[in-house]
Structures are given as structure tokens and as C-alpha cells.
């Protein structure tokens, strides 16, 4: 029985295609620079924490991230 091919992009496309989410930038342009900076600070702390945890894990297990794990 032939099965219709499903275009999986519909499941993963979150409203933009390619490298840039124009919708998000448009939203950010509606904010003031102070609002943009305050919003960014939450993300900055999140990424900083994630990088810190990743570095800690790699110290405990050097094989992580080396391609040997």
C-alpha cells in the first residue's frame, strides 16, 4: 500500500524559515532599548548558567565534547 509522503517541515517550522525569525525581530523592534536589554538579561543569565554547567561537566568527564564519548 502506498503511503503518502509527509512533509515534516510543518512540524518543525515555527513560523519562519532559514536563519532568521523576522517575526521575533519585528517584535523586538517594537520594544524600547531598555525593554530589549531587560529581556536579554534573562536569556543572558540562562545561557551563562548553561555554559557554566557544560564546562563543569566537561571537567568531570573530559571525554564529553571531545568526540570520544
Amino acid at each position: 500500500m502506498a503511503v503518502d509522503r509527509v512533509d515534516q517541515r510543518q512540524f518543525f517550522d515555527l513560523g519562519h524559515q532559514g536563519d532568521v525569525d523576522y517575526t521575533q525581530i519585528t517584535h523586538l523592534l517594537e520594544l524600547t532599548p531598555t525593554q530589549r536589554l531587560d529581556r536579554h538579561e534573562g536569556w543572558r543569565l540562562f545561557v551563562k548558567e548553561a555554559l557554566s554547567r557544560a564546562a563543569l561537566r566537561q571537567r568531570h568527564d573530559p571525554a564529553l565534547g571531545s568526540g570520544r564519548s
Partner: protein, 162 residues
């Protein structure tokens, strides 16, 4: 610090340091959907400004990043006179002080095209998106190249919307 980026900028403005916010934060302030961990500034290398910059940062006890902690490497006005670009650690935060940026030059070239933005009650000079794109393209690290489509799209949308 409660809000590292904002608190550091406020500290520099209040100390009358002549500087421009550069790097990813300059893109964020102009609407780019980037996330960056560090704060980068470009500073004027006049003797008076070096003194103001050193005095403003002294209470934060900045250290040169990556040096072994046992080395007695003080960061002060004399250090600023001896170098140009510095990568500092302030507590657990990263602050980069740049006198020159690849493809766009030093403070004088950057301030000439800088954009002024309000942050709370402050007026702060930030690197223009055009210059940010030029320097990131020239530096060419993976993370710089990855940011280019977002920065170009931000510039395009800003031009469309005036």
C-alpha cells in the same frame, strides 16, 4: 551586580567615561534577536579618559581573564596605558575593553557613526548595525558569522520601518 550589563553601563556613564557599547549588546539594543554573555565596550584612549575608566572599574576589582589566579596582575590606569584591548573578568562576568576593532577602526571612527539609545534615564552611544556587521564579517569566527543573518535582517527591517 543585579543587572551586569546595565549596572556597568551606568557606572561608566556616571564616571563620564567616553565609550561606545559594541559587540552583541549593541545589536541587542537595536533590536537584534541575539543572546550574548559578555559586555564589550570601545573606549577613547586619551590620558584623562583612561584615568576615568580605571577609576570607574576599580571598585569592581577587574582581573585580566585567563591569567593564573596566583599571578599578582593588578588592572589599573597603568595597565590601560600599556595595552589596547583587554579581556577582563569582573566577579563571574566578562567585560571586554577594546581600543580597536577589526575592519572599522578605533574609537574615533566608531563614535563618528555611533547611534545614541536611551537606557532608563541614560543616553548611551552604541555601535551602528552597519559597523557591527562589518566587524563581525571581518573577524569571521563561527559565532560572528552565525550572527550575521540576524543582524542583516534587523538592519533591513529597521530601514523598512524607518
Amino acid at each position: 551586580m543585579q543587572h551586569f550589563v546595565k549596572d556597568t553601563i551606568r557606572r561608566l556613564v556616571q564616571a563620564e567615561v567616553e565609550f561606545v557599547v559594541v559587540g552583541g549588546i549593541s545589536g541587542v539594543l537595536q533590536g537584534a534577536s541575539l543572546v550574548t554573555v559578555d559586555l564589550d565596550i570601545c573606549y577613547k584612549r586619551s590620558p584623562a579618559n583612561l584615568a576615568r575608566l580605571a577609576a570607574a572599574l576599580a571598585p569592581l576589582e577587574p582581573k585580566l581573564r585567563g591569567l593564573p589566579s596566583e599571578l599578582p596582575a593588578a588592572f589599573d590606569e597603568r595597565t590601560l596605558h600599556l595595552g589596547t584591548n583587554f579581556t577582563l573578568q569582573v566577579g563571574d562576568e566578562n567585560l571586554d575593553l577594546l581600543a580597536e576593532m577589526k575592519a572599522i577602526g578605533g574609537y574615533e571612527q566608531i563614535i563618528a557613526q555611533a547611534v545614541e539609545v536611551p537606557i532608563d534615564d541614560l543616553r548611551v552611544k552604541v555601535l551602528s548595525l552597519e559597523q557591527l556587521i562589518a566587524t563581525k564579517a571581518a573577524v569571521g569566527r563561527l559565532k560572528d558569522l552565525a550572527a550575521l543573518p540576524i543582524l542583516k535582517a534587523t538592519l533591513e527591517l529597521k530601514r523598512q520601518h524607518g
